[in-house]
Amino acid sequence: MKLLIVLAFSGLAFGASARHVSKTLPPPVDPAKPVSFRLDVMPVFFRAGCNSGGCHGAAIGKDGFHLSLFGYDPAGDYFRLTRQIIGRRIDVAVPEESLLLLKGAGKVPHTGGRRFAPNSELYNTLLHWIEQGAKDDAAGVPQVTGISVAPDKIIFIGKERKRPLAVVAKYSDGSTREVSTLALYLTNNKTTADIDDKGIVTAGKRGDTFVFARFAKYTAGAEVIVLPKDKFKWPKVAPNNYIDGLVFAKLQKLHIAPSPLATDEEFLRRAYLDLIGLPPTPAAHDAFIKDRAPSKRAKLIDDLMARTEFADVWTTQWAETLKLTDTTGNDSVGTNVKAIYSYYDWIRDQMRRDVPLDRFARAQIQAVGSTFENPPANLYTMLPQGNYDPKAMAQDVTQVFTGVRIQCAQCHNHPFDRWTQDDYYSFVSFFTGVKRKPGAEPREVYVYTDPHAAPAKHLLDGRPMPPRYLGEQSEIAAKDPRVKLAEWLTSKDNAMFRENMANRIWAHFLGRGIVEPVDDVRISNPPSNRELIEELGRRLASYDFDARKLVRDICLSRTYQLSSMPNATNRDDDSQFSHGRLRRLRADVLLDAIDEATDTTTTFGGDYPRGMRAIELYGGIRRNGNYFLKTFGLAARDSVNASETRLEPTLAQALHLINGDTIEGKLGRSTVIAQMLKAHEKPSEIIDTLYLRSLGRTPSAAERQKLLALTAGHEADRKVYDDIFWALLNSTEFAFNH
C-alpha cells in the first residue's frame, strides 16, 4: 500500500507554507543537458495527455498515430515516433519543424488542440531531445519505483486557502526528482478541496477528502481536511458501541456534531425497511410504541433478523451482484430460468441458514459440477452470461468479492491503483482451467476443471503467467488453483475480502459505503473513515463471517439510529454518517411497500405465480419487463456493478405514481378502507390507520385536523379516504427511508 508508506514517513502540513522539497535533479530545460527519452520525454506525453485513452493512447491510436496508453511501452513509442514513418514526426535536421512539436503546440491543425505552449517546459524538453538526435536510452535507464507527495496531509482552517503539493519520484538507481510539473492531479471531492494542474490545493467546504498526483504508473494521495473558522463544541453523546466510537472520533476531528437519535417511529420504519424490505404494519407499530423496555430496539433488530424476509433482502442483492438473469435467451450457455432458480434457491438457503460469507463465497469460487445439482457452479454461467472468458470471469470475481476493479490492468498497469499487468494476467490464470460443457439435458451445464489448461499470456510479450494471488509474487501450483484462490481470498487475514463484505453490509444500512461505491476499491478512492472500515472488517472476520452479527452491531449503533434531520454542522456532510441518510426505497421494496400498505398483490405474469413479492423475483427476464420496477431503477442484473440499482428520482417515476396504474389500480382493488368503513370506524381512526400503513406514524395534530375537515360531511364516502390514501402513497415521505 503505497499510500500508507507515504503517510508513514511524512509529517503534517498546515496550509499556506512554502514548498520545501529536496531537489536532486533540476527540470531538464537546459539545452546543454542531455535529455532522456524515458525519463524526460515520456512524462511529457503523460502530462500533456497525449497518451491518454481518449487520445493517442487509445487501442487503435488517434488520427493515425498511436502511443502506448499512459506510456506503458516506451520502446514501442520510440519506434512509432522515430521509425514508423521516418522523417514525419521527428525532424532532426530542423527540429522546430517536427510534426510532434507543430501538432503539440497547436501550430498546425491538431484534433487534440494545443497541448503545451511554445517555449514551455514540455515543449522545450521535446525540442532539446530532438536537437540532441532524438536518441533512445533503453538499457540502464533508471525506472520510476514510486512517487510521494508532500505534504501528505493538509488541514485548512477556513475556506479558499491554498497550498501547493510537491510530487517526488523515486528511481531504481536510488535518485529522486521533483516531478510536480509533470504529474497529473485529481481530487476526490471538489467541494471540499480542489486541485489545479499546477498542484495547488484550494480549500472548499467543511469535510475531508483526498487529492492525488499521478506520475509514471504511480498514484499518491494527500488527505485534506477543511474546518470552518468558527468555534466548535463537541456535544455529549454516548456511543452505543465501537462503531460510534470510530464514527464520532472522525466527526469530532472534522468539527461535525451528529444529529440526535431518531424517534421510535422513525427507527421502527427504518429498521423494517432495511432489515426485511417491508414497512411495519399498524399492529407492529402499536406493539413497538407501547413497549417500554429499554432494550426494545435491540429486540426488534433480532426479531426482524430472524424472519425469512431478512434473507430475501440479501438474496435479491446477491442475485443482482451475481447477475442471475438470462440476457442471451440461449439455453446452451446455462442461463435458463431453471439454472437461475436453482442458484437463487441456493443463495436464499445460504442466507436463511446464515451460512458464513466466507463459506458462501468459497462454495461458488471453487464450484464444479452440474448447474442444477450444485447450484453455486452457476457462478460460471451467470457472470459470463454467454461464452466463457477467463479474463471477464477474473474481473467479475474480484469486483464481486473484494470490490476491486482490475480490468484496467488488462491493457496497461492500472493508472489509479496498484495493479500491474502482471497482477492481472496472473490472476486470470486462476480461471483459465475452468471449462463448461452441456449436461444431461439442454438447460444444464457442467462446470469442470481442466488441470492441463495453459495459463493466461501476458498481453505485451506473450509470456505465460502462472496463477498468483493479487499483489503477490509466489506462483500457485494446484490441480485446480481456484480451490487455493478461494481459501486465500476468504481467509480472515485477507483485508480485501473482509472489508469489502463489511462495507457492502454497511452501505445497505447507511445508504453509502465507507468506500463508495462499494465495488470500486482503489488507492485513489480511499475510505471516508479508514479506522471504521478496518474495524468492521476485523469484526466480521472475528465473527467467523457471520453477517448477522455485524448487521446487529450496525443496527444497534447510535450512528445507524441517528435522525435524518441535519444540524448546522453536519448539513453538508455526505460521507461521515453524522445523520440519517435519506434514501429512496429500492424499486422492489417500494412496490412491496405499496402492496403491503394497500393489502394487495402484484401479478408479474408469465413465469411467476400469483402472490410473489417483488423482492422474491428470482429471474431477470419478467422482472426486467415490469414497468414499475424498471422505472424505479431495479438492477437489470446485466453487470456486477453496484450502481446497477438506481435510486435517483426521475420525472417518469413521479408521473407513474401520480398517473400510472400502480397506485390507482391498487387503491381500486384494496379493501382496506372498505373494511374500516364497514366496521363503522371513525374518520380519525381511518386517517390514523392510513398514516400508519403508509408512513409508519400517526398524523400530527395539524395534519389530522386538516384531513378531518375534508371528511366532514362525507364520513362514509370511500372516495375521500381513497384520495387521502393516494396522497400519502404519493408523498416523498412514503417513497423514502429516512
Binding site: V337, G439, E441, Y446, G611
Partner: protein
C-alpha cells in the same frame, strides 16, 4: 466436448402438421381406454396404429371437434410392456407424426381437481389406493398448483413413487413440464424429495420404507413455476421396487448373469437375469412378481464376456482378450483401471455406458501404454450422430452424449491401461459403468432429415396416395470407424402390398439419395412399418444397416429436445387418390456446369380440384441448387422449375423428381416420375477484356471465345450484370463452333453511374433439340467514364 451442440439453431415450430398429443396420456395393462387425439387437420380419420400390436385401436372416429379431435378406443393387451408406446394416425389423405401413449401395470386413477386448490394440501389430499397410476395435470393459471395424494400404509412397507412428466413428451410450446415430488408423513415432515434424477433426467422418483403406520402424502408440483400448459403427468404410487442402477450393467448374450440391484430403500439384492440372444439394450423389470416397477432398467447385451474391475481398485484388472465388456462401480475409488493387450493395425471401438443407463456419473476414459504415463487417448463426451442418433440436432443435449465413445488404434503391439473416472472426480454407490470394446462393424444408418421438404415433414412417415408417387431424400450415416467407401444400393422391406420403391444407386461419397415410392391403384390402404437399409452394390462388404430416427416430441423455443423418441422403422400410409397428377417433361438438353436448366411441369387436375399447387425438389445432384418453390396458380396447369449447376457440379447422369403438394390444410403430396438429367461441361469458355465506355456514348466490349464442346448451329451471347445505365445494343452477337472473337456493342446513358464494375458476365444460350440451355461464362471489368462534354442548360 460436443462443440456443435453449443450452436443455436433457430428453427420452425415443433408442432407437425397434425397430431399433438393423446389424452389420457396412457392406460393400464388389460384395460380398454377411450382416448382423444388432439391436433389439426384430423378430418376423415381412418386408422390408428401403435408400434406394438399389443395395443389395438378400434372405433376410430371424428371427435367432438372434428378436424381437431379424433376419438378411439385402445385395447391394451395383457402382454403389453409398461412404458412408452408410439402411435400414428392415418386419415383419408395423410399420415400423422408419431405421438406417445404410456402403459402402466397399475390401475389408473384420475386426479380430481375441479377448482384450483382442491387437492393442494395434505388436509385436502385425494386418497388413492396403493399400486395405482394417477393421471394428473398441473392446473393452468397463475396460481402455483400443488397436487397432493394420500395413501394409507402399514409400518415397514415400501412406498415408491415414479412420475412421468417430461417423458410424456406432451407438446407444450413455451412451457416445460419439469416436476418435483415429496413424500410427507402425517406431521408434514418431509421423508423424501426428488427433483431431477440420473435415471429419468427431469422426472422425479422416490422410494421409502414407511417408519410407522398411517397416512402418507405425495406432493407433486412444478420445480419452478412456468405458466402450465398441457402439464400432464402420470404418477405411479405403489409398493413396487424402483431400482436406480443394476450391476453389472449387462452381460454376454444368451447367458444368465447375477445382477446386483441398487438403490432400493430395503437394501441391495442380487437377481439372476437370463439375457436375450440379441445384442444391444435390453429392458429389465426387477423384483418379485407384484413388486415390479412401472418402467424398466436397461441392461446391455453383448456378444462377448464381462470383465469386472479389481475389487481393491488400486491395481488394474486384467482383460484376457478383446472384445470384452468392462464393468465396475466407482463407489470408493475415484478411478478404475483395466489392462489389455492390443496389436498395431487393429481398430477398437470403445464405448462407455453409464449416464445413458441412468448412472449419475459423467465418465471420462484415458488409454495409455502400460509402460508409459502418457495418455494416447482421452475421451469425454460423445457426438450424438456417432452414438447412432444421426438425426439428432446439434442443440440437443441427451444423457447418452455424456458417455465417451472413441476409436482406439494401438500405435504398437503391447499392453495398454484403460482408466475410467468421473470428470468431476466424484464417486457414489450408483456410479455404475460398462465399457464395451469391440471391433468395428461396417454400419450405415438411414434416417430422414427433419428439414426434408418445404412443408413440415411428417417425421419418419411417408404417405403415398393410391396411383401416385412420393419422393424422399434418404439420409445415410456411417457408424464411427466405418470405412466402406464404395457404391451402395437402397433396399426396402415391409412395404404395404401394392407399393414399390424406386431408388437411385448411391454414388461414392454421397450421404443422401432420392427414394421414390409408387402406390398402385389397389395398394393396401393401411399404415405399415417398413425398413430402408443400404447394402454394398457389389454385395461383398457386409454392412449393418437399419433405420434410426430420433423424434423430439417436446421441443423448446430453440429446438432443445426435452424428450426424444427413438424409432427403428419408418411408417407408411397408403391414402386416398390425390386430386391431381403431375408430369415433368424429360429435359431435352443437358444441364451445363455453371448453367441452369428449367423443368416443365404439367398438372392434370381432377374434376373440381382448383387449388394452387407448390413445386419443389427434395433431392438434387451434388452442387446443384434450386430456386424457391414455385406455385402453380389455381387456374393454371403448367409450371416451370429451374435448377442451377455450380461450376464444380460433377458431370454425369442423374435422376431427378419434383415434389408437388396442395396448399390446403390437409396437404396432399405427390411426386413426378424421375426424369434423367445430364450434367455436362460448358460449350464455351469466354474471356471478356477490360473495356470502358463514356457516359452518353456507345462503346464495345470484346471477348475471346474458346469452344470447349462443339455444338451444332449458333449460340447467342448476351451480357449480364451490366452497370446501371449501360445496355447491350441489339442484335446480340451469335457464335458458332468456329468463332474465336466476339464484339458486344454497348451504350451508356448520360446518367449511367460512373465507376469501375467487376463481374460483368456472358450469358450463353445454346439451342439443341429445340430446347434452349443457358450457360454463364467469363467475367470482365467495365469502366464507365464521366462524360467529357459539359451540357449547360441555364
Amino acid at each position: 466436448m460436443r462443440g456443435a451442440s453449443w450452436l443455436v439453431l433457430f428453427s420452425v415450430c415443433a408442432f407437425g402438421d397434425m397430431l399433438e398429443y393423446v389424452t389420457p396420456r396412457g392406460g393400464s395393462i388389460g384395460t380398454t381406454v377411450e382416448v382423444v387425439l388432439h391436433g389439426a387437420n384430423l378430418e376423415n380419420p381412418k386408422e390408428i396404429r401403435l408400434d406394438d400390436d399389443c395395443i389395438v385401436a378400434t372405433d376410430v372416429a371424428a371427435g367432438a371437434k372434428p378436424g381437431n379431435e379424433v376419438k378411439a378406443r385402445f385395447r391394451i393387451g395383457l402382454g403389453c410392456a409398461p412404458g412408452e408406446h408410439v402411435l400414428r394416425l392415418r386419415t383419408a389423405t395423410n399420415l400423422s407424426e408419431p405421438v406417445t401413449f404410456w402403459v402402466s401395470p397399475f390401475p389408473a386413477v384420475r386426479e380430481i381437481e375441479k377448482g384450483q386448490g382442491e387437492n393442494d394440501t395434505p388436509q385436502k389430499a385425494q386418497i388413492v389406493p396403493l399400486n395405482s397410476t394417477v393421471e394428473g395435470e398441473i392446473a393452468r393459471g397463475q396460481d402455483a398448483d400443488v397436487d397432493v395424494y394420500r395413501v394409507d400404509m402399514r409400518a415397514g412397507e415400501r412406498l415408491s413413487v415414479e412420475v412421468e412428466g417430461m417423458r410424456l413428451g406432451t407438446a407444450a410450446q413455451g412451457g416445460v413440464n419439469d416436476l418435483m415430488l415429496r413424500i410427507l408423513n402425517s406431521d408434514g415432515q418431509e421423508l423424501a424429495v426428488s427433483k431431477d434424477t440420473a435415471l429419468f433426467v427431469e422426472d422425479p422418483v422416490a422410494s421409502i420404507v414407511t417408519p410407522a403406520a398411517g397416512p402418507y402424502f405425495i406432493e407433486i408440483k412444478q420445480q419452478i413455476f412456468t405458466a402450465p400448459k398441457l402439464a400432464f403427468y402420470r404418477a405411479h404410487i405403489g409398493g413396487f421396487t424402483r431400482p436406480l442402477a443394476l450391476f453389472p450393467a449387462g452381460g454376454e448374450r444368451g447367458t444368465s448373469v447375477d445382477v446386483r440391484v441398487l438403490g432400493d430403500p430395503t437394501g441391495d439384492r442380487v437377481e439372476r437375469v437370463e439375457l436375450p440372444d440379441t445384442n444391444g439394450d435390453s429392458p429389465y423389470f426387477s423384483g418379485a412378481p407384484g413388486e415390479k416397477p412401472p418402467s424398466p432398467n436397461r441392461l446391455r447385451v453383448s456378444p462377448y464376456p464381462n470383465v469386472m474391475a479389481a475389487a481393491d481398485g488400486t491395481s488394474p484388472a486384467s482383460v484376457l482378450a478383446l472384445p470384452a465388456a468392462l464393468n465396475g462401480i466407482l463407489d470408493k475409488n475415484n478411478s478404475a483401471q483395466f489392462r489389455f493387450s492390443a496389436k498395431k493395425g487393429q481398430a477398437w471401438r470403445v464405448q462407455v455406458f453409464a449416464r445413458s443407463l441412468g448412472s449419475p456419473m459423467d465418465p471420462i476414459i484415458r488409454i495409455r501404454p502400460a509402460n508409459s504415463d502418457k495418455n494416447i487417448l482421452i475421451a469425454d463426451d460423445a457426438i450424438l450422430a456417432e452414438l447412432g442418433y444421426p438425426s439428432a440436432r446439434g442443440t440437443w443435449a441427451l444423457p447418452a452424449s455424456l458417455d465417451p465413445l472413441a476409436m482406439f488404434k494401438p500405435p504398437a503391439d503391447g499392453d495398454y491401461i484403460l482408466e475410467i473416472a468421473d470428470t468431476q472426480g466424484r464417486t457414489g454407490p450408483l456410479f455404475v459403468y460398462r465399457i464395451e470394446i469391440e471391433p468395428v462393424h461396417e454400419t450405415i444408418l438411414t434416417y430422414l432429415s427433419t428439414t426434408d421438404g418445404a412443408p413440415q415433414p411428417r417425421v419418419t412417415g411417408v404417405a403415398v396416395p393410391r396411383g401416385s408417387r412420393w419422393t424422399i431424400d434418404l439420409q445415410l450415416a456411417p457408424g464411427l470407424g466405418s470405412e466402406y467407401k464404395g457404391d451402395l444400393i437402397v433396399e426396402a422391406t415391409g412395404l404395404p402390398r401394392g407399393v414399390e420403391m424406386i431408388a437411385q444407386p448411391v454414388l461414392k461419397g454421397q450421404n443422401h439419395v432420392p427414394v421414390q415410392f409408387y402406390a398402385s391403384d389397389d395398394a393396401d390402404a393401411r399404415i405399415q412399418f417398413f425398413d430402408l437399409t443400404v447394402q454394398a452394390t457389389d454385395r461383398k462388404t457386409p454392412i449393418e444397416s437399419h433405420p434410426h430416427q430420433s423424434v423430439a416430441t417436446m421441443n423448446r423455443g430453440i429446438e432443445s429436445a426435452m424428450h426424444v423418441v427413438f424409432l427403428n422403422h419408418y411408417a407408411m400410409a397408403v391414402t386416398d387418390p390425390a386430386p391431381f397428377h403431375v408430369e415433368m417433361e424429360k429435359p431435352r438438353a443437358p444441364l451445363v456446369q455453371n448453367g441452369e436448366l428449367t423443368f416443365k411441369v404439367h398438372v392434370v387436375r381432377s374434376d373440381g380440384f382448383k387449388g394452387p399447387i407448390v413445386l419443389a425438389a427434395s433431392w438434387l445432384p451434388p452442387n446443384v441448387s434450386k430456386g424457391p418453390a414455385v406455385t402453380i396458380a389455381p387456374d393454371k396447369t403448367d409450371g416451370e422449375f429451374t435448377i442451377h449447376a455450380a461450376a464444380k457440379a460433377l458431370p454425369g447422369e442423374y435422376q431427378v423428381a419434383l415434389n408437388a403438394w396442395t396448399q390446403t390444410s390437409e396437404r396432399i403430396r405427390i411426386s413426378t416420375e424421375f426424369v434423367p438429367v445430364s450434367i455436362v461441361e460448358p460449350y464455351l469458355k469466354i474471356t471478356l477484356r477490360r473495356s470502358s465506355v463514356e457516359q452518353g456514348r456507345a462503346g464495345q466490349m470484346k471477348a475471346s471465345v474458346e469452344v470447349a464442346k462443339s455444338f451444332s448451329g449458333e449460340a447467342i451471347l448476351g451480357l449480364k450484370n451490366l452497370p446501371k445505365g449501360v445496355k447491350l445494343v441489339d442484335p446480340k452477337p451469335k457464335v458458332t463452333s468456329s468463332t474465336r472473337e466476339v464484339v458486344f456493342d454497348i451504350e451508356a446513358s448520360t446518367d449511367a453511374l460512373a465507376g469501375l464494375y467487376n463481374g460483368v458476365t456472358c450469358d450463353v444460350s445454346v439451342t439443341t433439340n429445340g430446347e434452349t440451355q443457358h450457360q454463364q461464362a467469363g467475367s470482365g471489368l467495365l469502366r464507365v467514364d464521366p462524360s467529357r462534354i459539359a451540357v449547360v442548360t441555364k
